[in-house]
């Protein structure tokens, strides 16, 4: 089959590789019909994850048709049309029992790597480095899905791939990030990052009852899309965001703030230079300037939601502001399984049309070009769907 393989920093190749096989009784094989490139794939593309290996198959947003089932999978049929949550979850451990599926105890065979750094390991993830299991990803013609009896979600007839493929990651990720804002009636939520997750977070915040959403980015088409979603917008290259947020909220600050950017944030001025330099010499793995700004901007007693991906250490965290203002931080990889029913209902009820975010459709062969324009934000690229 054809698959999108990582061959090094900024080096993606479409290769012919063996078809996946059933390896465990609870596995399934999916013929992939749609798969997307995620903003977090860019962290791998940009070489920020040292546990990538040459030849790794990328992709964690994919859906398709079941073509083969392991002997223990009884609740899915061959031919079913399914979406696949990007988090791999066993469905029966302490964390899965509490609907914390991205914290599954049993799906990361390389948990030891993570435990050394983080103390404990989150779940395995598709196509997302050996730190999270080294599972072959879904940017391919076929993909193996472990714990398929838990990890496949059937899609009812009458919905297109493009309406449901984002249930695999970015829609639930934006939704959980908004839920993590602990929104109360009348609340204002400020969201840094108008990439695909930020876009879904804006719309989810409104679905969850936010009164206002203020979206922060610097890319014109992304800010426009945020505006189309009902947000007020701030371009951080044109305006001092902290001051603006304070003025826009009567001096009090946003009730909740969200870092939908993560470890590769583009900082301004000396601070941004500091983080870039520290990261280059390996003194700091993640650049946290959005997180710093968000914490300082947040109103007293407010909530900091962090869907943006971090993998290592950050420097100069404004812990004084965080503590003295009595803030709460909520974060995590997305517990995708928990949100699937709710979000599918929202799509079916017409409360949201997830296709709004798609800017490009390509064949699998064009993936290298796709990664490049997505990274460079060229050609107004916001979200790419690949059709194997």
């Amino acid at each position: 089959m054809k698959a999108v393989c990582w061959q090094g920093t900024h080096n993606i190749q479409v290769e012919t590789v063996p078809d996946p096989k059933i390896l465990n009784p609870r596995d399934a094989i999916i013929k992939v019909t749609s798969t997307a490139i995620c903003g977090s794939d860019l962290h791998l593309y940009n070489g920020y994850n040292p546990t990538m290996k040459k030849g790794d198959i990328l992709g964690h947003e994919f859906m398709g048709e079941v073509v083969e089932l392991g002997s223990a999978v009884k609740n899915v049929q061959i031919g079913d049309r399914v979406v696949v949550p990007f988090t791999i979850s066993c469905g029966s451990c302490f964390f899965c029992n509490r609907e914390l599926s991205s914290l599954c105890d049993n799906s990361n065979p390389n948990a030891w790597m993570v435990e050394k750094v983080m103390g404990h390991s989150p779940s395995g993830l598709f196509g997302y480095s050996h730190l999270t299991g080294g599972y072959a990803g879904g940017q391919a013609e076929y993909a193996r899905v472990p714990f398929a009896d838990v990890g496949l979600f059937k899609i009812p007839d009458g919905l297109t791939d493009e309406q449901v493929v984002f249930l695999t990651d970015i829609f639930p990720t934006g939704y959980m990030a908004a839920e993590n804002c602990q929104i109360q009636p009348g609340d204002t939520v400020a969201i840094w990052g108008c990439g695909p997750v930020g876009q879904f977070a804006i719309r989810s915040a409104f679905l969850l009852g936010a009164d206002r959403v203020i979206a922060i980015d610097r890319v014109p088409e992304r800010l426009q899309m945020a505006k189309d979603g009902g947000a007020e917008i701030l371009n951080f290259e044109e305006i001092e965001v902290g001051d603006a947020l304070k003025e826009m909220t009567g001096g009090r600050g946003p009730d909740a703030v969200m870092d939908a950017v993560g470890m590769e944030a583009h900082g301004m001025g000396l601070e941004g230079f500091y983080d870039q330099a520290m990261q280059k010499v390996g003194m700091e793995s993640d650049r946290p300037n959005v997180l710093r700004q968000a914490i300082v901007a947040c109103r007293k007693g407010g909530t900091v939601s962090v869907p943006g991906v971090y993998t290592g250490f950050v420097d100069k965290m404004p812990m004084g502001a965080f503590m003295n203002k009595g803030l709460t931080m909520k974060t995590g990889q997305t517990h995708v399984h928990k949100y699937l029913h709710t979000l599918l209902n929202h799509v079916q009820d017409g409360k949201i049309d997830p296709t709004f975010v798609i800017s490009h459709r390509m064949s699998l062969d064009d993936a290298p070009h796709g990664y490049q324009i997505f990274k460079d934000k060229k050609d107004s690229c916001i979200k790419i769907v690949l059709k194997p």
């Binding site: 990582w6 996946p20 096989k21 030849g55 790794d56 302490f94």
Partner: protein
Amino acid sequence: MELQSNSTTDPKNNQPENLSDTERWGSLLTGSALVLTGLSQRSLRGVLLAIAGGGLAYHGAAGQKSLQDTVTEAAGLNQRIRVEKTVTIQNKSPEELYRVWRDFENLPTFMRHLKSVTVLDDRRSHWVANAPLGASVEWDAEIITDQENQLIAWASVAGADVDNSGFVRFQSARADRGTEVKVVIEYSPPGGGLTAAIAKLFGEEPEQQIGDDLSRFKMLMETGEIATTEGQPTGHH
């Protein structure tokens, strides 16, 4: 998970038992103490035997120091490595987990370095472990203590390639939160030096391997299978 691994050349190892240590080991075995940390470096084997009532005699374990032991100590070759690991397993009782473990022939399913375990009789078993270059190390083990549904303690008998002893304890977690499984294993390469014999069996990191073994046991018990990517496709390396 917590772990403690250590090596020592403490000459007091074979001296008469220190009562308080024995008591503390005893509480670890019965579950009233949670962690190994802080316990002295007396040999696990000696403690297990003491707790079992000392009814079984093993070469070099509890009795007088032999000339070889003395030489070994003097040369600093009596280093041990001791590993402690605990996992909590959901939806399985101590009884169920004990039953799986008590049939030692099940162990190679999740203990990757084991090639086979053959049960010889109710107390004795023969263990074969993989070593580099297709070689293997072998030993006979004997059960020292077998408390049904709670605890199994074992030790290798004389002539083992790698002298080892250990126990596994199954205990209901507090507040009905599953079953805690604690494994403590100690390797005492006789006169061969730590690195040579242990590395032969485990590579560089025995703690890691035993931790992984226990994680795989948990996977198998909680999900019915062991998560893997071995055999999946990949592009060119």
